[in-house]
Amino acid sequence: MQRRSTLNSLGLQVSFERRAEIGTRFSISVTLGMLILAFLVSGLIFQLLGFSAPQIYRSFFTTLTSAIMLEEVFRRSTPIILAAIGLCYSYRMGFWNIGAEGQLYLGMIAATGVVILQKAGIGLGEELLLPAVAAASMLAGGVWSLIPALLRIKFGANEIITTLMLNYTAILLADYLIHGPWKDPAGYGFAQTVAFPASSKFMIPGVSEAITYLMIVGVITALTYLVFRFTVFGFESRVLGLNIFASRYAGVPTASTLLRGVFISGALAGLAGLIVVSGLIGRMRPGASPGYGYHAIIASMLGGLYPPAVFMSSILFGMLLTGGDLLQAGIQMPKSGVEIIMALIFLATIVAEFVKRYRIRVLRLGRGVVA
């Protein structure tokens, strides 16, 4: 019911009590409040590090003021949205998958593999390249994510650890391929693979790249919302995540529901990987993803696993990344600067969850609580 920790030396005592009820409006205000706090604190940190906080805030806002900037924000949000929406499937079932980054890399690898085959003349033909890379990347991400799910079902292995380990495996595999067998022979010695041809890109005629992506992720977000609201599968995944006993009683097929949900997570992360290599940077390179799979974890939590809110929080991360690039160029703020903000947002999300569940009180020792 309650926990406590003592700060006796200060003559203070902090106690946490569980709240009986959590209102929706209260919940949203706490999250927004904590988010603002995270921004204020990061401003303070930058100020102390010798940067101008107002200038930093301004540059994040600039990303929203011009069409070109806004397109960049959307482009960079796209992989985050895909992976974050995917994570909703895992997290709603209580599967703490932190492997979106690895699944994203698998998507890149598979797509690149298909392109290399195509260039070598072994392929389905130019018109079918896009469906081929899409299918390959989703399949690869999905299958990669099934490994930890199966390990959990068969041996009860903790998915937090297995998914994390598989991230490193995937990234190392990608590095090996880029530096080794898949290195582009015409790449002037750079560690990179061949470029993705135009026919491998998502393109809607007459619409810009950013808008194309926005439409794709918009549809996926809406579908995910509908899946959780209106399908038996979505309902059963929620039940599985909320009460394992009741879900057994209700006859939810635990293993197959888990496998399906986790596969979708991985497939969407894989698709995110495809968009990175075919669209955002055009080819596979070391460090092709700046951590989109990790940003997605924070975004899905910040959005409370509610697809429209997850979409919005992912856009926030796109803004941060774009703004960070501006700052790097403008005031030589290191790239890790943005990561400080992201880490603080992550902390804020955790604190917000805590504040929603517990009432926090500080008491003076000796005074007691008796009014």
Partner: protein, 522 residues
């Protein structure tokens, strides 16, 4: 029911230990406590009665600091207090045991008792804590092994652990929310003896119960609540059972259900269990070589002190636990190891024990909980798409027919009172299926008198419709009232199956507690 120990019978001392005045608590759509006055004197057992949803638990939660009242005052030993958390309440010597146990099953008794306790320190001295615990327990005549895992304890023992948690924190005002609903008659008697011991030591006990006989036998004073208000507070010696039931529901409660039955046709087995063995959680055999048959149109009760394998047996039949060996034949089909969903489709309905754990998802709404078991069926879904309108319609039927007291079917199931959770589970199971076999574990647990009668009537009605009913209960009165045959379990075995006409509380009691077999007369 006999009294655990003689009541002290002294008149209440003039200054009350706890005085609650004008307590109001409103939840969205319900006035749970409406201007309630409630006092607790030193050295008394105060019984708190009322129908499901009357506001008993809410009132006690307020006194325990879980909820803050919208208005009203609380004085403890004459001093006005503001209780903002259970911590504040514990400091004032107020302790509560909830309707559903709040223990960590994977931890031991001593770990549970001293969890979050001041004396635990950074490196706990388990030895000394264990000996303190043993001393305290033996004080009340309890035989608890401090190192036993709580998960393996019987409900009666878990209750003792909950009480010990309060006692080591120096609680002298104990609030017990339906403590007897999971206990056997023997365990209940022991608890009452303990309660009388406690009040002799000057402690005070509030006892919430739905059994009027219990209230009359153990309490010094009785308060009855109805729809959030107190309608009666009086010394126990000055009330009759009729007055109490009129106060609770407004009218006389209808007499006992008639169990008269229609013509008895030839016996047709619906469930046949042979040589069934099932492993328990702790890795020892919980069910040993059980043979049992349930016929269409009969109620077979499994009686036994809890922890003798009843739950494991039921879980094996309902597909929640894989049997080690043996056969379970439902309507001619071997179902050993089949999934709960398949069994439900085959006509096996199941009312699980521990409703809040197994039966509902508290975070979901009432109508989503109604969907739990039937979501894959038409008309509730088609081709994987849910039809919420038809689920809501069924939910409304469940709520009306089983009188689930809720502001709307959109309310969270977790906000329902204990008895209303049970009504929801029963209502869902019986409205959404046409069972061949109904397995019911403690079906009347937590229900008030009227609802208990209703459930009994429903069970007898199903029996008359040729449904086979396998019921688990520790309430001997109920067992004797409803069953056609009674199978007694002891140490994982069926030690005897007797006809109701040959059974009595004495015979059953001795079989349950000593496992002495009586020659079966099937």
């Amino acid at each position: 029911m006999d009294r655990g120990a003689e009541k002290s019978g002294h008149s209440p001392s003039p200054s009350p230990k706890v005085e609650m005045r004008g307590i109001v608590k409103r939840f969205p759509g319900v006035l749970a406590n409406d201007n309630v006055d409630f006092t607790i004197y030193e050295g008394e057992v105060h019984a708190l009665l009322g129908e499901n949803g009357a506001g008993k638990t809410t009132l006690m939660n307020i006194l325990y600091g879980i909820y803050t009242p919208d208005s009203g005052t609380i004085r403890v030993r004459g001093v006005p207090v503001k209780l903002r958390s259970p911590r504040d309440a514990i400091k004032l010597g107020i302790g509560m045991v909830h309707q559903d146990f709040r223990l960590i099953e994977a931890h031991t008794v001593v770990e549970n008792v001293f969890l979050n306790h001041r004396e635990l320190g950074f490196v706990p001295n388990w030895r000394s804590l264990e000996s303190r615990l043993e001393e305290l327990a033996s004080n009340y005549g309890w035989k608890l092994n401090p190192r036993a895992r709580v998960g393996g304890l019987s409900p009666g023992e878990k209750q003792q652990v909950e009480l010990l948690k309060l006692l080591v924190r120096g609680a002298d005002i104990l609030l017990l929310d339906e403590p007897t609903s999971v206990l056997t008659p023997i365990e209940t008697r022991m608890l009452f003896k303990t309660m009388r011991r406690m009040v002799e030591d000057g402690k005070s006990v509030v006892l919430i119960t739905h059994k009027l006989s219990e209230a009359l036998s153990v309490s010094d004073r009785i308060t009855v609540m109805r729809r959030g208000r107190v309608v009666l507070t009086r010394p126990t010696s000055e009330v009759t059972i009729e007055e109490l039931s009129i106060a609770m529901v407004g009218t006389q409660i209808e007499g006992v259900v008639s169990r008269a039955r229609g013509e008895q046709g030839e016996k047709e087995p619906i469930l046949k269990i042979s040589n069934l063995s099932v492993m328990g959680d702790s890795g020892v055999l919980a069910v040993r070589d059980v043979n049992l048959t349930v016929y269409r149109g009969e109620i077979l009760c499994i009686a036994g002190v809890s922890g003798n394998g009843q739950v494991e047996l039921v879980e094996a039949i309902t597909g929640l636990r894989k049997p080690l060996r043996g056969k379970i034949i439902l309507n001619g089909l071997d179902i050993a190891g089949a999934s709960p969903r398949r069994l439900f489709e085959l006509g096996l309905s199941y009312i699980p024990p521990e409703g809040k754990k197994w039966g509902i998802v508290p975070e979901l709404s009432i109508y989503e909980n109604v969907a739990l078991r039937v979501i894959r069926r038409q008309p509730y879904s088609r081709l994987g798409m849910i039809k919420w309108e038809s689920i809501i319609k069924t939910a409304q039927r469940v709520v009306t027919e089983f009188r689930v007291d809720a502001s709307s079917v959109k309310a969270r199931a977790g906000s329902l009172s204990g008895g209303n959770v049970q009504r929801l589970i029963l209502g869902r199971e019986l409205t959404t299926s046409n069972p061949l076999l109904l397995v019911a574990a403690y079906p009347t647990k937590g229900l008030d008198i009227a609802a208990t009668e209703q459930v009994k009537r429903i069970l007898l009605g199903l029996r008359d419709e040729k449904v086979g009913i396998l019921m688990v209960s520790e309430d001997l009165d109920e067992v004797l009232e409803l069953s056609d045959r009674i199978a007694v379990m002891y140490g994982g075995r069926i030690v005897g199956v007797i006809k109701r006409s040959e059974a009595s509380a004495e015979v059953l009691g001795s079989m349950m507690s000593r496992g002495v077999p009586v020659s079966a007369a099937a």
